[in-house]
């Protein structure tokens, strides 16, 4: 579904990603791991269209070149980013957050109907959001805000969902709940890229994994193989640490 070929990018003159390649098949889940500042978020921004590549190519569905498409156009193609730190609209109600998430639907035939169905689906997936639907987003707990952020991203009916540190700042119980939801989405056939610093939960979910350090891919392979603590330690800290 998604193919990156030797993509580099950065901020100003600082390189954040150096010739990174990846292939992700439809229905598969990729875990992107690595220490802070490795370029994980930049990779997601690149795919979502928030960050332009310096070199290399991004392709969707084998042929379509993503580079000329802006963020909005990519949402319409089914690429939706659930940003780091949840970033829900605190001044909007829970339901309004979801309706903003479904903006892309309004441009399609039967948009209003699909918006209603999306809301129903979000509320059945996260009953707590139904209870709080008219309350402000700011009144939710951290875990509930993460639920809302995921539900809001789902409103756009993504084919490829990009999640930036979905368990960051959550209690272990809440983080498990978030990953149970992601597992359910994967079971429905959705393609996911999950970025995390902590490797445990994403490796349990993903089919494949890649580990970034200083903008370079230091390891790529099956998720099951990445669960080796020695491998993780070397990949995160560099070879001299082993």
């Amino acid at each position: 579904m998604l193919e990156l070929d030797r993509v580099s990018t950065g901020y100003g003159r600082v390189r954040a990603l150096d010739t990174v390649s990846l292939t992700l098949g439809a229905g598969h889940t990729l875990a992107v791991l690595g220490p802070n500042g490795a370029g994980k978020s930049t990779l997601l921004k690149l795919v979502a269209g928030l960050q332009a590549p310096w070199s290399g190519t991004l392709k969707l569905d084998g042929s379509a070149d993503l580079s000329p498409l802006d963020v909005t156009a990519r949402v319409h193609r089914g690429i939706v980013l659930c940003p780091e730190g949840r970033r829900i609209f605190t001044t909007l109600s829970v339901e309004e957050n979801l309706c903003i998430g479904g903006t892309a639907l309004l441009a399609r035939p039967g948009g209003a109907q699909r918006m209603r169905e999306g809301l129903e689906r979000a509320y059945s997936l996260f009953p707590i959001l139904a209870e709080r639907r008219h309350g402000p987003g700011s009144a939710l707990s951290g875990g509930q805000q993460q639920m809302l952020a995921i539900a809001r991203a789902l409103m756009a009916e993504p084919r490829l969902l990009l999640l930036d540190e979905p368990s960051l700042g959550l209690s272990p119980v809440m983080a498990d709940e978030v990953y149970a939801t992601l597992a359910a989405l994967k079971a429905e056939g959705m393609t996911l890229i999950v970025v995390e610093e902590a490797a445990g939960r994403p490796l349990g979910l993903a089919d494949t994994a890649m580990i970034l350090r200083n903008g370079r891919t230091v390891w790529r392979g099956a998720a099951a193989a990445a669960r080796d603590p020695d491998l993780l330690q070397r990949a995160y800290l560099g070879d001299h640490a082993a």
Binding site: T72, H76, P83, T91, L92, I100, T103, A156
Partner: protein, 294 residues
Amino acid sequence: MNLLQLGVDGLATGSVYMMLALGISLVFSVMRLVNFAYGMIIVWFGFMLHVLWGTGLPYWLCVLGALAGTVLLSIVLARAIFMPFVGAPPATLLLASFGVAIVLQSVAVVLFGEPARPVQTPQILLTSIDTGWFRISVLQLLSLALGLTMLVGLEFLIGRTRIGMEIRATAESPEVARLMAVRSDRVLTFVFALSGLIAGLVALVWFAQSGSVTARGDLAPTLKAFVAVVIGGLGTIRGAVLGGLVLGFLETAMSGLLVGALSGFQQTFVFALVILILLLRPEGLLGKATGGMR
């Protein structure tokens, strides 16, 4: 001084200042633009009304035409000049708006010259009604009605409609709104159109009061709008209402209290009070805006 009369006059003047403040605050809430060209948009309404009146059209058609022209001017300025600066530092936006004000003013000077041009107003607006307790002009009634309608309309538009929701989302976090496929260009264009409409409506009252327009007449409305939003707080409806009313009542009270030699210092006293308010509440009486005029 009749207290009731002071209340009525203060409320009517405050209503005008509130409308001025709403137009500026609305644009600020979505793109952090402090628009110093706002007063020139108001002045241009005056010139459009002046020119249209010269064609012999009925008054209400002239007003509609000038309103449409003002909305169009605001949209053109937004799309051609302000929107390319989205995300720029506030100082850059501020300077851009100064540039726009200077250009609009120069064009007005070239086309209409420096002397004042008459802006016709139907006699009915200038008649006064004496209720026995206080006097109120039809123009003051119109200001109050316009202000109230605008308030209710904006509250509904921002709080209850789809575009209002997108405005609030864009105001709180433009980049996340963009991630959700919200077309920020459409939201901003709509907000500028709305701000232009508000400018036109308030200009209608403004020039009916003075009866004439000059190319350099933008300072007074711009200044009143800014003082009002500074008192109440930028970027919220409440802030514009409170700031506009406080400024209206202050001015009215000053003109009633200051007699004799002091009567020429009305503005001095008003600004001294504004400085005092800001010393005590640097972020305005109501504090910081949270987003989207709420």
